[in-house]
Amino acid sequence: MNSIYSVVDYLRDLFTTRLPYFPSNIRSALIIILFCAIVFAELYMYIAVRRIRQNAAKRKKDKWNDTISNLLANIIIYGDDDDTETIINHFLPQFKKLPLYRPFIKKMLTKELLEYHANFIGKTADVLRGLYLRLNLHKEAIAKLKSNYWEKKIEGIREITQMNLRTEAENILQFTDEENGQLRMEAQAAFVKLSDDNPFRFLDRARERILDWHQLVLFEVITKTKNVQIPLFSKWLSSKNDSVVMLCLKLVNHYQQWDAIPLMVLLFKHENLKIRARAIENIGKMEAEMVEENLFEMYFNQPIEIKLNVIEALGRISSGNYLDFLKSRTYSENFKIRMAALYAIKLHGPSGEDLLSKIYHDSTFQNRSIVEHVLDQRIKN
């Protein structure tokens, strides 16, 4: 016991009576020690308390989660013969019995309803939407749009879109010019899904660059949403915003919009190589034989990547008019060009295969191995 007291006494003296007499560095060190020790002890306690609370919350949550998901699963197995309204009326009282005045239960129910709704269509989805509305959960979603946090706004927008509350489209419109990129994109995507009159309005006004990630999401939304009025995207191919051009090129290809072909030929001269490459790729994928001459003419002044694109596009078009040109490319010094040319020849069907066997017989060892590579069906690119 004595020794413990003496340690305590020693430490107390160290930090009180003796403190002013130490050299400054030792004094600072003592203060730093005190500080670190206190922070350490507090963090330790904080972590412990956090864990205990978390576990309690989780137990509570698990219990309710089970109740809610069983309720929802019962909807799934409800008879096909009853009409939507009857089913809703059957289940509504059961849902109303839940203590929805408790925020976490309301949140949990909303989340589950949305998740189920996303996975099903038909009557199940209609019933889920009906319940969502009758439980007045949509009012929360609309309120979220007024939040100060962009995350909350996104949450609200997603909920509204998932439950297809079309009357809110105009309300969401305001966010399509938002400074926060993520929120802006979510709003644009929602607007495409919800707006009846001009879902692609945002493309006219987009001044900021649409990040690749946002392009990817918007493309998914535009192409996967049913009943969207698809415009002619050629309208935006002359946009000053490169990212808008890029997105529209992807869409032009997806919807095979032939009217865009002349404009895409103009893009062959675009200074952004990615746009140039995508325009050429589109021409190939749309098998636009009428502009293959333009492809051929541009070839010689291009960097390697663009040349590869041109060769591939000629292969896709495979009119046969440029077989000699493609054959000449198999003498290129660049391995990738040789391989691309041989692949392009292969795409020409029987005439291409004839040419390949001819090339195989009268060419160098390395070209032979590339021909073999190209003809090996097990290798896919």
Partner: protein
């Protein structure tokens, strides 16, 4: 004789929904939350129908199709693939491997019931 169906799906919610629904339709339903467990089950017993998600932990849906269709004992068991919209490439691969049908999420449960009934040879009770 009640038909036995195996559902392979890693999303708990979806698995539960399918299980409830098909059980109600009168089938004997077995479930697996990942591909590895599914393969073990398929080896141990025979099923009248297998419904599998394409994206699965451990062993992908494609491998399940290839294993089922590659084994003379199970090659006649119909397989329905479940997939998210946009995985058409993989669905195509699944068909090449011998998958019998596919359903894209989100889907209509009544439609699923009908499709299942078509593929299961023995009628449900």
């Amino acid at each position: 004789m009640i038909s036995k169906i195996l559902i392979v799906e890693d999303e708990v919610l979806m698995l539960k929904a399918l299980e409830f629904r098909l059980r109600k339709d009168g089938y004997e339903v077995h479930t697996a939350a990942d591909g590895a467990v599914a393969l073990d089950l398929i080896q141990a017993q025979s099923f009248d129908l297998i419904i599998t998600d394409i994206m699965l932990p451990f062993v992908g849906g494609l491998e399940i199709v290839s294993k089922v269709k590659g084994n003379p004992q199970t090659k006649d068991t119909p397989v329905i693939m479940l997939s998210a919209v946009g995985l058409e490439n993989i669905v195509l691969e699944a068909f090449q491997l011998g998958a019998d049908d596919f359903i894209t999420k989100p889907f209509n449960l009544s439609e699923l019931s009908i499709r299942v009934r078509k593929h299961v040879k023995q009628p449900s009770i």
